[in-house]
């Protein structure tokens, strides 16, 4: 059984509805693969789009930052925001310039963020952040102390007004252009992890943990 979000005036796709997707599993899998979201909000009449990391537990997306940050203060007021995650999968080269495109998967989430007040919930959200970056890391790092928790703002955004948009596959040309002598196809793109680099101040005798190379995200 698919678990679909309701389409709303904001989240529904107007132009190419067949690229739209409201299936929660699809939305979650895109969110879980990305590292950076772009948070959009308006302050003093100006729209800002700020890249930041995030985490997810169930239907909640977490954002965090220094309590003194301008963005965190703005978002904590419960203003309407838009959070977008985009994964670039390929360059789509059609025979015509007009039909050039990208293969991608994106998710747009609308809503109002809520300040997390409880230290317990904050800790759980920070665990989700850390595990979102590298699974296995939370148990292999010094967890936040009270002072650090106090200077960190964590916000929670419910994923209940959201949509995914996906393009995959071959270019689509106009019928008559298929006879042209231009190459057409896709150059696949993928975010790849390189060899981990030891901190120049790494204490002697500490090996690179296995989980660094064992991330599901980077496997085919």
């Amino acid at each position: 059984m698919t678990n679909e979000l309701k389409q709303t005036e904001k989240s529904k796709l107007k132009r190419v509805p067949n690229r739209g997707n409201f299936d929660l599993e699809t939305i979650y899998s895109i969110l879980d693969e990305g590292f950076i979201c772009h948070v959009g909000f308006t302050a003093n009449g100006q729209t800002f789009v700020i890249p930041t990391s995030y985490g997810r537990i169930g239907d909640k997306l977490f954002l965090h930052g220094a309590s003194v940050s301008r963005m965190m203060k703005n978002l904590a007021e419960g203003i309407d925001i838009c959070v977008t995650v985009t994964l670039v999968d390929g360059l789509v080269l059609a025979r015509s310039v007009f039909h050039h495109s990208m293969n991608y998967r994106s998710v747009v989430v609308f809503g109002r963020a809520k300040l997390i007040e409880s230290a317990d919930e904050k800790m759980k959200a920070l665990e989700a952040f850390t595990e979102h970056i590298v699974k296995g890391r939370w148990d292999d790092a010094r967890i936040p102390n009270e002072k650090e928790l106090n200077v960190t703002t964590v916000l929670s955004l419910k994923i209940d007004e959201a949509s995914a948009k996906i393009r995959t596959g071959d270019p689509i040309d106009d019928d008559k252009d298929y006879a042209l002598d231009f190459w057409a196809g896709v150059i696949p793109l993928k975010l790849e992890a390189g060899e981990p680099i030891d901190d120049s101040k790494l204490k002697e005798g500490i090996d690179q943990p296995n989980y660094l190379r064992n991330q599901k995200r980077f496997k085919e």
Copy 2:
């Protein structure tokens, strides 16, 4: 001599000013390496953040889309927008969860987009788009015809209120944490191009052009 943009109330970095950069060459090089920007705008009181491709000529950033698209119509009205490009360069694993971070390069551009009316200028912008995706492609594809130009909106955004933000290098831990027995370092990330995939309807006898594999962007 460095060519620097003026810092404004919007573009200046409040929190970690040493990560900020107003040098035009730095800003342009980040824009030229990215494929996707995130366009933020507000319509009917709601902020939207939409991923889209872009091109650049000199101090102008170009956006384009179907003339009937909601976003293009909104932007063409000359509303205040914010365009952000983010390149993710690495996962920064500190000994403390608190100092976990990302290495990245991002550019934020503020301004109002202008509709390009002249067919000539439109064509030049579309060439910049195409060459931005794959250098060499414009001369090896069918260029837009009049009908295609007419249904395409191209907007120009002057890059004169913008800033770059960059984080590189090792994690920075609190002094006392360097003694802890946790591994610390960076997992580098890079968007890599895979082997080009022929369109399943590719005409027989058409080889993959050399420029597909000869993109500066994907070289070290």
